[in-house]
Amino acid sequence: MKKITLAALASFCMFWGLMAQQRPFVGDTSVYPLRKLKVEEVNLVSGYYHQTGDHAAVGGGIGSERLTDFANQIDMRFSGVRPNGVKHYLGLEFGVDHYTSASSDKIDPRPRRSAATVIDSALLVDKSTRTSASYEDIRVYPSLNWRVENPKKHWTFGMGAAYSSEYDYESRSVSANFSKSTPNANREIAFRTAAYFDLWSKITPVELRPGYATGGGGHDDDDDDYTQAPRNTYETSLTFSQVINRRLHLALMADFAYQHGYLATSFNRVFFEDGSLDNETLPSTKMKTPVGIRLHYFAGDRFIFRTYYRYYRDSWGMMAHTAGIETPVKLNRAWSISPNFRWHRQSANRYFAAYRQHDMDDKYFTSDYDMSGFDSQFYGIGLRFSPVKRLFPGFYAVESRGGLYRRSDGLQAWIVSFNLKLK
């Protein structure tokens, strides 16, 4: 009897407890507390680039390639977690580049708002030319991306949009990506696709502009009536990542890109064998198929080997091999130093020829040495500081990196970059 009474009492208490579970209503945050969007990470990245060379494409393969670029970018990532555990990330990026270019100055080397002057090949290398509007430019590029991650089902989906604007080039792009990993995250496959809808202002060399041959002024530096030429790029990439063991993992990457539209650079000059002049003319379609592999290995307690190889091929006849190695060495828990080396070899595309080497019968032609055959080497070193105890709230790491780039055609460049990461 006593047992029956106790059992009845226990059952009553159980049902009484069930009645206490009330359905949540809007405004009641005690059951499902609202979780605010939080700042996940902020990166401030700056870089300064300087190059010299003697094969300016604007000059038809001759002339100074002196150029400087000061680039800055800030990107912020916010995250939020839904009650069901699904994570959302929102990324905002904003970048500004300022560059000056001695070769761009030669698009129209006449002084501003003056009577037309006779342009001959000597003037293209005249260092006393006054600066024109094309000497410097600013590029602005914001972007927005959103990503959702389901940690229970191990998939991630994202979308993004970006915009870029500089004096003669405007770009609008959209992208989407999806990835799926195994429950232990030892293997992942990721797919990304993007489309760029670009517009290029066809700024031709001054000698080729209407009215120039008869002594007219052609386009003034402030004219905005350049023809707009569309240039679209569609690209997809597939990445497969695999953990090999506790110290080694790799990623295999395969891209495909298709470009359609105006793919030449309108202000690049091309001089033919007979001395006649035209602007760069290239086919209106191009396909690219690069494939690459990354292999990263952590040796001992201090040494990391980051290796990379890429094979590239496109429909314009260019083939290229790129290989790189970086060896971060952890000096202590906070500091690491990273010497790195990159080697690149490419063959010329079938439309390239040097100054005054093009045949008059060529349908497509360029003297842009970026599309010529050459070897290049990049020697760099990086320094990273990420202390266990933060210097100030939010500080996570600061990294600096610099290097020297050399191309076998004589172009040389150096670059210094800086990244401050806040978390």
Binding site: N43, V45, G47, Y49, Q51, A71, D75, Y141, A162, S164, E166, N184, D198, T233, E235, S241, Q242, V243, I244, N245, R246, R247, H249, L250, M253, D255, A257, Q259, K288, P290, G292, I293, H296, F298, I304, R306, Y308, Y311, Y312, M318, T322, P328, S336, H344, Q346, M371, S376, F378, G380, S386, E399, S400, R401, G403, Y405, L411, A413, I415, S417, N419
Partner: protein
Amino acid sequence: MSKFLKLLFTLYGVAALASCQTVKQYQKQHLNDAEMELATRKVEKFEQNFMLYREGATGANGGKNGGGCGCN
């Protein structure tokens, strides 16, 4: 790419994948190091950008493939 190189990479890839070990999350202290990330880092971004302009080969590195800029 020569047939020999293609065969070499294929065999290397198969051997690497076949020897994969199952690594648990608590065993990934080396793999999860910031400098072991299987991607270019933020500080490398501008290096990658200038190479996009100065070389004809692009892609397969997490960066652009020619769209969004007046590059190759």
